[in-house]
Symmetry: C2
Subunit: 447 residues, 2 copies
C-alpha cells in the first residue's frame, strides 16, 4: 500500500525514469496513430469561428514566433500556439477518446509538445515518448476519480489534460523528479474546465488552457519556480478540492505494465460517438444500394443515443453533431458522413431536411453504446434490417492505419484542397527515426 503523501513524487519519478526503450512497439505505433489523428482533427478545426476570434486576439499579444498554428500560416509564441492547436483539435468533437475516463487525450498533450518541440527542438522518439507519458499521466489521474469527477461537471479533458501537458512538456525539458513535482503542482493549481460549456465555444478555452498552462508549468519548473510537495493528495490539494474518494492506487500502481494510450479510440465521423454505430449501418447499406429511395428509417440504440442525440429539429452544424436524425439523413443523401455533412449549409439542404423527418429513434436497453439496429424502408415497400455490434473506431473495432490516413487527407483537403499531406503522413509514421521534428507543423500548410 502506497503512502498517499508521496503520490506526486512517485508519479514524478516514474515520468522521469521512463525511457523510449521501455515503450513496447505497439504502444509506440499507437502514439503515431494518435498523432495522425491529432493532425486530422486539428486541420479540420483550424478555421472554426472560435479559433478565428481567439487567434485574432493572440496575434495582438504574441511576440516570439516560436511555433506554427497547424493548417494555417501564423506563427506565435509557444504557449499561445499550444492553446490554439489544442482548441483546434477539440473544437469539432472529432478528437480521440480514452473511453474509461472520457478524456480526449491527445489534444492538450500533443499541442503542448509540438509547440515545445518546434521552439526548442526535439527528436521524434523524445516527442513520442513524451506523448505516451503525457497521455498516461492524465489518464491515470483521471482514472482515480472516474466517473464521479466528470459527473460533477468537471470537463475532464481540461482538468486532467493540464497534467498531461505538464508531464509531457516536462519530459521534453528533461526535468528532474523534483522539478517534475513542481510542474505537476503548477498544473494542479491551474486545473479547470466545466462541462456546462460543452456545446459552446467556451469549451475550447479550457482545452486550450490545458495545453498552454501545462507547457507553462513545465517551463516555470525548469527555471526553479517551485510549488508544494504533494499537490495531488495534499490536504488542500487537487484531489481534495476536485474529487470525492479518489482511488489513488490508480495513479501509480502497475506503472509500465500496460499503457493507457492503447485503449484510445479514434472517430471516423465528426459527431457524437453514440451516433457512430448507426452511421456504420446506414453508410454500408447506402454503398450497396446507391439509388434506392428511402421512405422511412427506424433506429434502435442504447438509451444514451436517445438521451444525447434524439434531435429531430436542429438549425446549426454544431447541433447536427448531436442529431441522429440529421446524421442518418445526410449520410443517405451524400453517401458519407464527413465534415461537410455537419455544416450549417448541410443542415439547410432540402433533401436532407426531407429525409430527416422520416427518421425515428427508439430505445433498446439490450444494445450497448457502440451497437445499433436500423430498419430502412424503401419506396418498393421492402424493409432492410441492418445491425452493428461494435462501432468502427471503438477500441474493439479500431480504425485501420489507412482509415486514419484517409481521415487526415480529408480534413486537410477542407481548407487547403491543393496541398499534398503525404509528406506529413510519411513523417509521422517514421517520426521515431527523426532527430529533429521542428518542421512537422509546417508540413500542414502549402509552401
Amino acid at each position: 500500500m502506497l503512502n498517499q503523501a508521496g503520490i506526486t513524487e512517485k508519479l514524478a519519478h516514474n515520468i522521469v525514469a521512463t525511457r523510449w526503450d521501455d515503450i513496447p512497439p505497439q504502444v509506440q505505433h499507437q502514439a503515431k496513430r494518435s498523432l495522425i489523428n491529432f493532425f486530422a482533427v486539428t486541420l479540420a478545426g483550424c478555421r472554426s469561428r472560435p479559433i478565428e476570434i481567439a487567434l485574432g486576439l493572440l496575434g495582438q499579444f504574441s511576440g516570439g514566433r516560436q511555433a506554427s498554428v497547424i493548417g494555417r500560416g501564423e506563427r506565435l509564441d509557444a504557449p499561445s500556439t499550444a492553446f490554439i492547436n489544442a482548441a483546434c483539435a477539440n473544437v469539432d468533437d472529432f478528437c480521440d477518446t480514452h473511453v474509461a475516463t472520457v478524456i480526449h487525450p491527445t489534444a492538450p498533450v500533443a499541442a503542448a509538445l509540438l509547440a515545445f518541440a518546434e521552439w526548442r527542438r526535439a527528436s521524434g522518439a523524445d516527442l513520442l515518448l513524451a506523448l505516451v507519458l503525457g497521455n498516461e499521466v492524465q489518464a491515470r489521474i483521471g482514472l482515480a476519480i472516474s466517473p464521479s469527477h466528470y459527473n460533477r461537471g468537471w470537463h475532464i479533458t481540461s482538468t486532467c489534460g493540464v497534467f498531461g501537458a505538464a508531464a509531457g512538456s516536462g519530459k521534453l525539458a528533461s526535468l528532474s523528479a523534483r522539478q517534475m513535482v513542481w510542474a505537476l503542482g503548477l498544473a494542479a493549481t491551474q486545473s479547470a474546465g466545466l462541462c456546462e460549456c460543452l456545446g459552446t465555444p467556451a469549451k475550447s478555452v479550457s482545452v486550450g488552457n490545458a495545453a498552454r498552462n501545462g507547457l507553462w508549468s513545465a517551463l516555470l519548473a525548469e527555471r526553479g519556480f517551485d510549488g508544494p510537495a504533494e499537490p495531488l493528495a495534499g490536504v488542500q490539494g487537487f484531489y481534495h478540492a476536485l474529487a470525492e474518494k479518489p482511488d489513488l492506487s490508480r495513479v501509480v500502481d502497475g506503472w509500465g505494465e500496460s499503457w493507457e494510450i492503447i485503449s484510445t479510440s479514434y472517430k471516423p465521423y465528426p459527431c457524437g460517438f453514440v451516433i457512430h454505430p448507426v452511421l456504420d449501418c446506414v453508410l454500408d447499406w447506402r454503398r450497396e444500394n446507391p439509388d434506392a429511395e428511402v421512405t422511412r428509417v427506424v433506429v434502435r440504440g442504447n438509451p444514451l443515443l436517445s438521451i444525447r442525440a434524439d434531435r429531430p429539429n436542429i438549425s446549426t452544424g454544431r447541433e447536427a453533431q448531436v442529431s441522429v436524425q440529421h446524421a442518418v439523413a445526410a449520410a443517405l443523401v451524400f453517401g458519407k458522413a464527413g465534415l461537410d455533412q455537419f455544416t450549417d449549409s448541410c443542415v439547410r439542404d432540402g433533401n436532407v431536411l426531407k429525409l430527416r423527418s422520416k427518421v425515428e429513434v427508439l430505445r433498446d436497453e439490450s444494445l450497448s453504446t457502440i451497437a445499433a439496429a436500423v430498419e430502412v424502408t424503401t419506396a418498393d415497400g421492402r424493409t432492410h434490417k441492418l445491425t452493428q455490434t461494435a462501432a468502427r473506431g471503438s477500441d474493439v473495432n479500431p480504425l485501420s492505419d489507412r482509415n486514419l490516413e484517409d481521415k487526415l487527407r480529408a480534413a486537410a483537403a477542407g481548407w487547403n484542397p491543393g496541398h499534398d499531406v503525404t509528406p506529413l503522413i510519411d513523417a509521422i509514421w517514421t517520426i521515431d527515426e527523426s532527430s529533429d521534428v521542428s518542421g512537422l507543423a509546417s508540413l500542414t500548410v502549402p509552401g
Copy 2:
C-alpha cells in the same frame, strides 16, 4: 425568491446597468484607497524571485507592448501584464482582504483593469467603477460559498478573482449584458487555484491567472466568443463543481444597497493578519520605551494565532511572515515591522535571533483574531501589560489615508529609493477627474 436559472443573467444585468453616479462617495473613496494599497503591495513584490522567473519567460513570448509592469521598466502585452502585476501584488501576503470571504480582492481585479486601461485607454471614473464592480462580483460569488469553498482547499482569491477581473474588464469594455454572461462563463471555466500552494511560489500562478484569464474572458466575449447561458448555477456549472450548497441569494440580492469594498481591510505589516494585533502592542510600547532591555515576551492570542503563527524556529523571510516569534523580536530590535523585517537577512540577524527565543505564545479563547494581550518583561524586572482589541488595518480600526500613503512610499523606496511617488499618490486621489489613466503605471518608475 430568484429563479436560480437566471442568476448569471441577473448578475450581468446588474454589472452592465450600474453607473458611476450610483456609487456613493465613501465607496468611491474606498476604491481609491484600494488602489493606493494595490500600488504599495505591487511595488513591494515586483522584484521577488518568482516574479523574475515568470517575467523572464513572458518576455520571450510577449509581443504587444501594451501595458507596464508596475515598479519596473518592462512593457508587455495586456494579458501578460495583468498576470505579472497581480502576482506581484499578492506575492508577499501584503495585499488587502475582504474578511468575510478571505478574498484578497484588489490584486486580480486592479491588475486586469490597469492593463486594460493602459492599452485601450479609460477614464479614472470608469476605472474606479470597474474596480468597485469587479470587487463586488467576486465578493458576492465568494460569499455564496464561504467558508466551505475555501475550507475545501480552493484558493478563493484565485477562484473568485477571475470573475472579478472578467466583470471589471467587461465593464471597461462596455460589454452588453449578453456578452457579460459569456465573459462570466469564460471566467467560470477558467476558475482554478489550490490552497495547497500557499507558502510556495505556485500560489502566484493562480493569482496571476485570475487577472489574466478574467481580462482574456472579457476580450473574447467582446468579440462574440460565446459561452453557456447559466455558467454559475447550471447543472454542470461553477457552483455545482466547486461548491457545496451555495446560497445563491448572496450573488444578486440587495445589489447596490451596500458595497463589499467598504469592508476591505489593508495590512500595515507584511505578515499574517493574526500577528497584527501583537505587533500593534509591541511597536507602541517600543516607541515609548526605545532603550528598555527586553528579557521575556508572553503573547496571548486567539487560538488561530498559535495554529498559524507559533513558529519559534524559522530560516527564511517567507516563513518569517507566519512566525509571531520572529515578528515580535524584529519589531523590538528595529522598532518597526516593514518589508525589511521579513527578509532572509533579518531572520539571520543576531539580535533578532536572541530575542526570538524569549517569545512565548499562549492561546486565549476569549480574544478575537484581531485582538491580543502581550506581557513584556524588562531587565529591571518590571512587566508591562499591553493590549490591542482591534488590530490596525482591520475593518473596525482602518488605516488612515495617510497610513496608506506611507505604506506606498515605503514600498516604492525599496526598489527605487530615489524615485518620488508623490505624483502617483496625487494622481490616485484625484483619479476620478482624469479622462485618461493610461499613464498611471509609468508613475511607479523613474523617468
